[in-house]
Amino acid sequence: MADELQRSALVAKLTRPVAGLMATTYRWVDERLGVTDLVHQLLYEAVPKRGAWAYSLGSATLILIVLQITTGMFLLWTYVPSTTEAWQSLNFIEYHDEFAAIVRGMHLWGAYVLFVVIGMHMVRTFVSGSYKKPRELNWIIGVVLFLLVLGLGITGAMLPWDQAAYWTATVVTHVVSYLPIFGTQVQEILRGGPQMGPATLTRFFAIHIWLLPALLVPMIGLHLILLRRHGEHGSWVNYEGVEEETEAERAKRMANAEAPYPALPSDPGYAVPMDLDEFFPSQVFKDAVVSFGLVLLIFVMAVVIGAPLERAANPAALNYVPTPEWFFLPLDQLLVQFPQAWMIPVGVFIIPGIGTTLLMLVPFLDRTPGRQPWRRPEVMVPALFVVLFLVFEALLAVNRLFNL
């Protein structure tokens, strides 16, 4: 009954600005497509009330990926995936097509901001213990999403086929040759031959614009479906006092839960946040503010700084110093630290591999009862060391490259 009322109020709202014929047309379409129901489903959800600004990072990530896909599609209007013409087509953009240059700048800065924001989203869900029962699988999907986005970043960096791109591609495709047994073969498959060549670029182009996005988009869908299934967990501020709660109080809270809560199975007391708010407009407002700020930042950076284009790839240049993209600095530093034949795979496969595996297994390794970070030292302390490790590696890499 309440649902019906809400629904007709929504119909009235959606048709308010348009009178007469337009309203009739809307109703006609709505009866056949169910637009109102869809909007209703998407917008009218309960979300936790406190700490909501921190929960806007997920939708900011989403918006940035949409931005990447959109700008990427329109870069394809000019970009030619060929070793002889890729650089020339982008060089043309830089000097003769100001708007396309901004699009290109937004694609690059969008990627940079995306890495920061997805990292923050990850840290935020980690610190608030959002991966705990029943959201374990959503965390794992998140890790896969993270790896896909990293893959998009590195394959994208190869596409301009300038010096930076060429050497990034060389190093990345040579790393795999240290795989045991099949190393050389995998390298030849990725390069399309024993050495870097035209086939290398077409391969990574296909991976960047088709293969990885085709995996990314459905995975995001799954991430969001699961999010809707369990409801937003929020963080410890939404569950203050659950330990002191009596059975009766808890039962009452569960019984009064709005959809999609209660999230089950979950630890006692954590199925429903203490205070709920509306997703629309409360949460969406915050999401909109944050996303707008980020898009504005990206736009400004694209206009002011833009995307650099170095000289065209030249395998024989002697005075060029290759530097990796900043988000790959920690991995590059590992290459420095693990010298000589048999230790190299330790640095490039074993350590990052163990790290990724542990990251995926976090929901199963963390058996702490509470949600507050200071009551979970056995996960927060090792995580702090991992973060410190990455930061230190990046700083050391900056230092090394600056002083070459």
């Binding site: 498959i189 390069r191 399309g192 050495q195 870097m196 035209p198 395998p315 002697l318 290459l335 034949a341």
Partner: protein
């Protein structure tokens, strides 16, 4: 009874057929794709000799860089030749002078190394690998000495081809 049984087995048959059709179609699509992915492994490469320089111009004990267009191998439809730097080195050994043509591709992650006149080593800017004049890896991450191009001398003219042999 018998009709119901028959229906069920019919049902089972259809389910089986759906699975088989799906698997078959998937296989038909996947087989050529996998083949095309793997094809680079089976490419045959030919590497012709290319001229580098007159070795009389190469001083003893000073690695000298020449850029030559070498065949890059594999099966590409364009730019079959790429510029590569060859370091021609005359090593001053105890009682003879020896000539080698070093590839300047770092054996670590294949960046370009260059002869650093201050440090007196081949230096790789990527991760700080260092090689001595004859290509021996002496510091940093490189796992092997620099590779050498196969070379031949016709009179005083040096020819190489893009076939690398292990150094030292």
């Amino acid at each position: 009874m018998s009709i119901a049984q028959k229906r069920i087995s019919r049902r089972k048959f259809m389910i089986l057929a759906i699975n088989a059709a799906g698997a078959g179609a998937g296989l038909l699509i996947a087989a050529p794709i996998v083949g095309s992915i793997l094809s680079p492994i089976f490419y045959k490469s030919k590497y012709p000799w290319v001229m580098v320089a007159d070795i009389q111009h190469v001083p003893v004990g000073v690695p000298t860089a020449y850029v030559v267009m070498v065949d890059q191998g594999g099966d590409s439809w364009q730019v079959p030749k790429v510029p590569r730097t060859v370091y021609v080195v005359k090593l001053n050994l105890i009682n003879q002078v020896q000539l080698i043509a070093l590839s300047n591709v770092c054996t670590h992650m294949q960046c370009d190394v260059h002869w650093d006149i201050n440090l007196n080593v081949f230096f790789c800017p990527c991760h700080g690998g260092e090689y001595s004049m004859d290509g021996t890896n002496i510091a940093g991450p490189p796992p092997q000495p620099l590779f050498r191009y196969q070379h031949k001398l016709v009179g005083n003219t040096l020819f190489i081809r893009n076939v690398l042999v292990g150094g030292s």
